[in-house]
């Protein structure tokens, strides 16, 4: 029986998947000589950063009990938009800003149709995924936007205080989002709407506005991810972001935010994204070819989740549910 009288049940908020992360780290540390080094950890963080930001975009919408399938396309489009503007002589910071605005607008498009028109979120974001992808291809005529100057590259490739800027950006966003989701009314409302839209409505929360704003935020985050990606690879391909939506969903689910929404959160997703990045890093260090990597990643993801699910079941059983 849960002690309902005087448990502060705070420790329960540590996502169980943390153990999955530790397990993966341990295994790779023991079996590959190059894994457990400071350099490699920085390397992993750097590699995870973009996925982390993209996954946050996904997590917010999943917390709402919805989804955003258009994240990858938004990444491609914002990267391309920013890149084209830089090449057309716009100052870098304005281009970056406008790229983020583009992300926000696309998020707004999704959010408007879902919240104010009441359309199904799967269908809307799935459609916009195709539409936005097409836009990116059309405005570049399919070609990659070539390299940039050093000021733009600083975002994705520079370093500050000995740390990659990209890691600092991802960390900053993480802290902001943790604060936003756990300490502000907006964040609380996101969880509530995810828990039940009707209950939230009955509590006087403007659920439409919350959904709308969350999709804008998701668009902004996807936009940032796309821009940072363009900076990191020093070019903007119109298909750069495709496929990220599935990795982002995987990171979110591994991190313990279920599709039903209303629970889980940013920290779990951070861990989920790190697990994915570490897996890819470790398997590269082993030198496995893609066929083997494919098989192993599938197995490991499922294994981690199975352990997590069984652990939950065990806990539930212990408490007599």
């Amino acid at each position: 029986m849960v002690n309902l009288i005087n448990s502060k049940n705070k420790f329960k908020k540590v996502p169980g998947i943390l153990f999955g992360l530790l397990a993966v780290v341990c295994i790779f540390s023991i079996t590959t000589p190059y894994f457990f080094t400071l350099n490699n950890f920085i390397n992993i963080l750097e590699q995870a950063s973009i996925l982390v930001i993209a996954s946050f975009a996904m997590t917010l919408t999943i917390l709402l009990g919805k989804i955003d399938m258009s994240i990858g396309s938004i990444m491609s489009l914002t990267g391309v938009v920013t890149g084209l503007m830089i090449h057309n002589g716009m100052p870098v910071w304005i281009s970056v800003f406008l790229g983020v605005v583009a992300g926000a607008l696309l998020g707004m498009f999704n959010g408007y149709l879902i919240s104010y028109q009441g359309f199904d979120f799967w269908i809307v974001t799935f459609s916009s995924m195709g539409i936005i992808q097409s836009l990116a291809l059309v405005i570049t005529n399919g070609a990659t936007v070539p390299g940039f100057g050093n000021d733009f590259r600083f975002l994705g490739d520079g370093s500050l205080f000995g740390l990659p800027v990209i890691v600092l950006i991802a960390s900053g966003i993480t802290i902001l989002l943790v604060f936003l989701t756990l300490r502000t009314t907006f964040g609380s409302n996101v969880y509530s709407v995810g828990g039940s839209e009707q209950i939230s409505k009955y509590a006087g929360i403007n659920t439409e506005a919350i959904v709308f704003k969350t999709y804008i935020l998701s668009g902004i985050l996807a936009g940032i991810a796309g821009i940072v990606l363009a900076s990191k690879v020093n070019s903007a391909s119109p298909i750069a972001g495709s496929g990220y939506e599935f990795d982002a969903i995987a990171a979110t689910l591994i991190g313990g935010t279920p599709f039903e929404g209303g629970r889980g959160g940013i920290v779990g997703t951070l861990i989920g994204a790190l697990i994915i990045a570490i897996l890819m890093n470790g398997l590269n260090l082993y030198g496995f070819t893609p066929p083997i990597q494919f098989t192993l990643i599938g197995f490991i993801i499922v294994l981690i989740i199975i352990i997590d699910v069984l652990n939950e079941k065990y806990k539930a059983k212990k408490w007599g549910k």
Binding site: W122, S134, G298
Partner: protein
């Protein structure tokens, strides 16, 4: 009368879009409305629609199956090596068994372990694809016997074999889902699993069987696919997953489960194929194709919503008069 029309409009919104597209393309291009081209469209829709039926079944039960494309690849690659050695029956059987097994594993990990369908099938997607790569080692198997090739590229009475196969599959699945106990239980499970289980239905069995059927469908489509193309390799079928989700959504089966169905998905698959065909014929840049599909989906949402609003208005005024009377 008018209210009936509007109700019909909502119910068949997707169908009207199909007709709209059909008439549009017919007007825009003289090459569209030929017997040959219509046969083309249906034959092209065949494989997509069959995979989409599986996706639809998973979605109706409240799940999703992201592994269909990869299971298709794995089963048909392994089958191909048998087919190549001349053992047609054996090859087909092996392919079906592998598909079925992959699907059953999905179903078991969803029901018995309690994984979310997304994760279970996402994992299977990686694994099956990986195994297909490992098995093929980057090679291709090509050149099958004429008998086997008939399945995917033959013609009978001037109509491609694929169209017959699609017709049979559609009829069987429509019948099973709308007319049998099993079908009823699929919908019940999707609409409320607990209540259905508490009505004495073994919902785990329903879900396992659905994913197993999906595996089987993937394998069938895989076999037809390699028969049609006369070659098998590990990459095949990657687009099927997203396209089948698109066909299901265009058809109007919602992700919430318990609603929609195979017949709607048939319309969805035909709309998708028609779009590509029409755009190819009109020479519209391939860059636009995704956008057009997206806009068509959104457009159908608007039609549906407008229809609903209109019909509710009518409904209300009708009920008002009846209450006052």
């Amino acid at each position: 009368m008018a209210s009936n029309n509007i109700k019909l409009l909502i119910k068949y919104a997707r169908f009207f879009i199909l007709i709209l597209l059909f008439s549009g393309f017919s007007l825009l291009s003289p090459h569209f409305l030929t017997f040959q081209n219509q046969m083309n469209i249906l034959a092209q829709a065949a494989l997509l629609s069959m995979v989409s039926y599986g996706m639809t079944l998973a979605i109706v039960t409240g799940g999703i199956d992201l592994s269909m494309g990869s299971v298709l690849a794995l089963s048909s690659c392994i089958a191909a090596s048998f087919l190549k050695s001349g053992n047609i029956i054996g090859g087909i059987l092996i392919g079906l068994i592998i598909g079925f097994l992959c699907g059953s594993i999905n179903g078991l990990s969803i029901t018995k372990i309690g994984l979310s369908p997304f994760i279970a099938t996402y994992g299977m997607d990686w694994v099956a694809r990986g195994l297909a790569y490992v098995y093929m080692g980057g090679t291709q198997i090509y050149g099958f016997s004429a008998v086997f090739r008939f399945l995917g590229s033959g013609q009978f009475l001037g109509v491609p074999a694929l169209i017959y196969e699609m017709a049979i599959m559609t009829i069987v699945l429509v019948f099973v889902t709308y007319k049998t106990i099993y079908g009823r239980n699929i919908y019940a499970t999707g609409s409320n699993k607990t209540a259905t289980r508490l009505s004495g239905v073994n919902t785990d069995k329903i879900i396992i069987s659905i994913y197993s059927i999906n595996g089987l469908l993937s394998a069938i489509v895989g076999l037809l696919y390699i028969s049609r193309l006369n070659a098998a390799e590990a990459v095949i079928g990657t687009d099927f997953t997203l396209n089948s989700i698109a066909a299901t959504l265009i058809g109007g089966t919602p992700f919430s489960g318990g609603e929609g169905g195979v017949a709607q998905t048939f319309i969805g698959a035909v709309i998708m194929t028609l779009l590509t065909n029409g755009m190819n014929i009109l020479g519209i840049s391939s860059y636009w194709q995704n956008a057009v599909v997206g806009f068509v989906i959104l457009f159908s949402l608007f039609i549906e919503k407008t229809g609903k609003v209109l019909s509710e208005k009518r409904f209300e005024s009708v009920s008002k008069t009846s209450i006052n009377a």
